[in-house]
Symmetry: C2
Subunit: 104 residues, 2 copies
């Protein structure tokens, strides 16, 4: 890792920071690392997030190809979210954040 | 790392996410991992950040005990920022973000 180059859009730290910007995105990924989750499970785990923001963050994760959304034709419809193989690669990022957080 | 517990303020991932929230904080830490930097060097490296936001983010890093600020009585005054030992512990977080960013 070099720290000498000026920070550009091409910097890989910058790219990741943009993707996990905001604590909620990180915490959604954290939850999904445990396996696929229904929308209601995420809402329950992240109890302080507003439904609007949770949907927005999930959409952004989908757009960034980190999460897939599957809708089952139950009544009412059930929606499940799951990390893609790319999304699962965030595990090391989350694990190192967890290790750091224990120092605080 | 367990993903089963509901996310609380005590979750170490949550604590770290709150500290590195926003891409600029992450990128300032990235720059400082290369050694102490003058304010002007940070401004130059993070060329798209506004001076007001850069100062705010540095203040937050100071408040969180991740960065120290040293003012030298030159004319004009020179201000240097340096990671604390705790701040340097973020290296693994930044390194894993860098590795992930290369997959994007």
């Amino acid at each position: 890792m070099t720290n000498e180059a000026p920070c550009t859009e091409e910097c890989p730290v910058h790219k990741t920071a943009k993707i996990i910007e905001g604590k909620w995105t990180t915490l959604i990924v954290r939850d999904l690392l445990g396996g696929k989750k229904r929308y209601s499970e995420l809402q329950r785990s992240l109890e302080k997030i507003s439904p609007k923001l949770l949907v927005a963050r999930l959409r952004l994760l989908e757009k960034n190809r980190l999460v897939t959304r599957t809708v089952y034709p139950t009544v009412p419809a059930t929606t499940e979210y799951e990390l893609t193989p790319l999304g699962r690669q965030l595990e090391q990022v989350i694990a190192s954040m967890s290790a750091f957080g224990k120092l605080l």
